[in-house]
């Protein structure tokens, strides 16, 4: 028997891509075609689903809301995690190892645990239904993750680099921003990517902490399914658009993702 080394990987990739293909396929069909017949590609190719999303504010606001809180969250997480990770990577202090591990344990609790206290707290201080509420809630999970990833990347930079900069005359902040941050730029990119990933796909907190004004796209999608019947083509188009930002971000950090999954420790 002749060996066909490409066969198994090809089948596997087809298997992985099938649902994505089906989603994209559906997004160019009308709902009637989706429900009426089984077709491998759109018979009545239509862009109506996409047009609707980009023209109807209840749809595109969902994207704007999601992107807003995701960006706020990314910036907050990185800004807070950078100095924290630097401290963990460069200094020894009482209980540093325990504190570092405790950070990670934050990620072990399910988001649902925090939904109720957050809802009550944010309602009380008037943050309910704002992008900031969701962004802050997500930092609970993202800052520990970002600290872990950045600490890994920072520990890969010898502390002699810090000292060389001081010897050259740089102040701490001069060194930190002009030399250190550019040196670990890849790590910052990866940390930002993981914050993006979590915040972009997280549904429970995002849905709980918003009602109308800051409703994220994922919430819009699920609610539409229940109120105005089955608009499957529209939902598929929304789903396709939800994948796109993630794909773009992945493209930029593709060379460092593996190191990121190992929390920067490769």
């Amino acid at each position: 028997m002749k060996r066909v080394p490409w066969l198994v990987p090809t089948l596997y990739i087809l298997f992985l891509l099938l649902p994505i293909y089906w989603l994209i396929n559906m997004s160019f069909k009308t709902t009637n075609e989706i429900l009426g017949s089984f077709t491998l590609w759109p018979r009545n190719f239509t862009l109506d689903n996409y047009v609707k999303i980009f023209t109807d504010p209840t749809w595109y606001n969902g994207y704007i809301n999601s992107i807003t809180y995701v960006l706020i969250n990314m910036v907050l997480s990185i800004v807070v995690a950078l100095p924290a990770a630097y401290a963990f990577s460069r200094y020894r202090f009482l209980g540093d190892k325990h504190l570092f591990f405790w950070l990670l344990t934050n990620r072990m609790a399910p988001a649902a645990v925090f939904a109720l206290p957050f809802l009550q707290l944010y309602s009380a201080v008037g943050l309910f239904d704002t992008p900031i509420a969701v962004a802050l809630a997500h930092t609970l999970f993202n800052i520990p993750l970002a600290v872990w990833i950045l600490e890994g990347f920072m520990s890969g930079v010898p502390k002699e680099l810090d000292e060389t900069a001081y010897v050259d005359g740089y102040s701490f902040w001069g060194f930190f921003f002009k030399i250190f941050v550019p040196t670990i730029a890849a790590g910052i990119g990866v940390a930002a990517f993981f914050c993006f990933m979590f915040s972009w796909v997280e549904l429970l907190l995002a849905k709980t902490l918003t009602s109308v004004a800051a409703k994220p796209i994922a919430a819009t999608m699920t609610r539409t399914a229940s109120t105005s019947g089955y608009e499957l083509g529209l939902l598929a188009a929304a789903g396709t658009l939800t994948i796109v930002p993630g794909a773009i971000v992945i493209y930029f950090v593709r060379n460092y993702i593996a190191k990121g999954f190992a929390l920067g420790r490769v």
Binding site: E160, L161, E163, T164, A165, V167, D168, G169, A185
Partner: protein
């Protein structure tokens, strides 16, 4: 301008990294810190540079107490064992970095960087990133950065240790020329006694955070103040044995007797004798050479040199000689000892007698 360490110590938690140390380095001097790994060379350099504060004691520079003054205000340069350069800067910007921070005019920066680059043969590399250079070139970049500003003191922490053999020899030849004519204190840390001997200058012998001896390199090589200093300043390790001296004979623990060295005036008594490996050879050197026998453990042949490790009364002794002497492992070798070159240390390991 001289550097003075006055009774400095460094403690971290319960560990003492540097025991009380006082040293004075003169302007324009080449000083070597010689010691094994973890002997405190880097800790001592950090105290000198101002990267670290001593737990007690003072650091003076040119009659000014600089103990609490941070490294940024000290005008020192440093080169590390790892090739430390700013990865996101070009070679040019790496070398220019201390001048940029000092706010020097662009024309002057250009001139100086070019000079330093020419000196270290980095001219064609200026536009590249450090990661695009070979290890030797990366270290040259680091050295160029250390030379480009007129520092009062240049600290080199095992700068050649990570280079391969050829590059190390090449750079080792160049280094003294680079520092010649500069009015700065050079401090060079190394683990290799050979390097200290090649550079000359002054040597500080360090052992477990203590300075055991400080003085002109050749002088302390010839007269180690104590047994530890002799051990630090010997590679392969120096051979030691407990001996009894009586009249013109010395007796080892295994009853072997040697004639007492002529030059060293050592009173009768119990001593530790230390003999450098190259004074134990397979060939007879003088007419009255003393001999020693031992079971061969390892023989290392390196082209023009033989290093034989042998068992001497339960201790491993080493002989180092020119030529190829392929002793087989396990055989009993008869070797000749040049006792006249031995050092005698008393019960407190202080030097009592040495070859004239």
């Amino acid at each position: 301008m001289s550097l003075d360490l006055k009774n400095v110590t460094k403690r971290v938690g319960a560990d003492t990294h540097i025991h009380e140390t006082s040293l004075r380095f003169e302007d324009g001097s080449f000083n070597i810190l010689l010691g094994t790994t973890l002997s405190g060379k880097t800790s001592l350099m950090q105290l000198m540079a101002g990267l670290d504060r001593p737990s007690s004691g003072e650091v003076w520079f040119a009659d000014r107490n600089v103990t609490g003054i941070p490294v940024q205000k000290r005008n020192v340069s440093m080169v590390y064992q790892q090739f430390i350069n700013y990865p996101n800067f070009s070679v040019y910007e790496n070398i220019a970095s201390p001048l940029r921070v000092a706010g020097m005019a662009q024309a002057e920066i250009d001139k100086r960087v070019q000079q330093a680059a020419d000196l270290l043969r980095l001219g064609p590399m200026l536009k590249r990133r450090p990661s695009e250079l070979s290890g030797g070139q990366q270290q040259r970049t680091a050295i160029a950065r250390a030379l480009v500003k007129d520092s009062d003191m240049i600290l080199l922490d095992e700068p050649l240790a990570n280079l391969d053999y050829k590059l190390r020899e090449e750079l080792r030849d160049e280094l003294p020329k680079l520092f010649a004519g500069r009015n700065c204190i050079v401090v060079y840390a190394t683990t290799e006694p050979t390097e200290a001997l090649l550079f000359g200058g002054n040597t500080v012998l360090l052992h477990e955070g203590r300075v055991t001896q400080f003085g002109p390199t050749s002088a302390i090589y010839r007269r180690p103040a104590d047994l530890t200093s002799a051990q630090v300043f010997s590679d392969p390790p120096i051979n030691t044995a407990k001996v009894m001296k009586k009249g013109d004979q010395i007796t080892l623990e295994n009853k072997v007797t040697w004639r007492a060295p002529k030059a060293a005036r050592v009173p009768d008594g119990a001593y530790t004798i230390a003999i450098r490996p190259h004074h134990i050879t397979p060939m007879q050197q003088g007419r009255e050479a003393s001999t020693i026998e031992g079971r061969v453990l390892v023989t290392e042949l390196s082209g023009s040199e033989s290093v034989v490790h042998f068992d001497m009364n339960g201790q491993t002794w080493v002989s180092q000689s020119h030529g190829i002497h392929p002793f087989e492992v396990g055989v009993t070798a008869k070797l000749f000892v040049d006792v006249d070159q031995g050092f005698f240390f008393d019960g407190e390991n202080r030097l009592i007698g040495a070859a004239a």
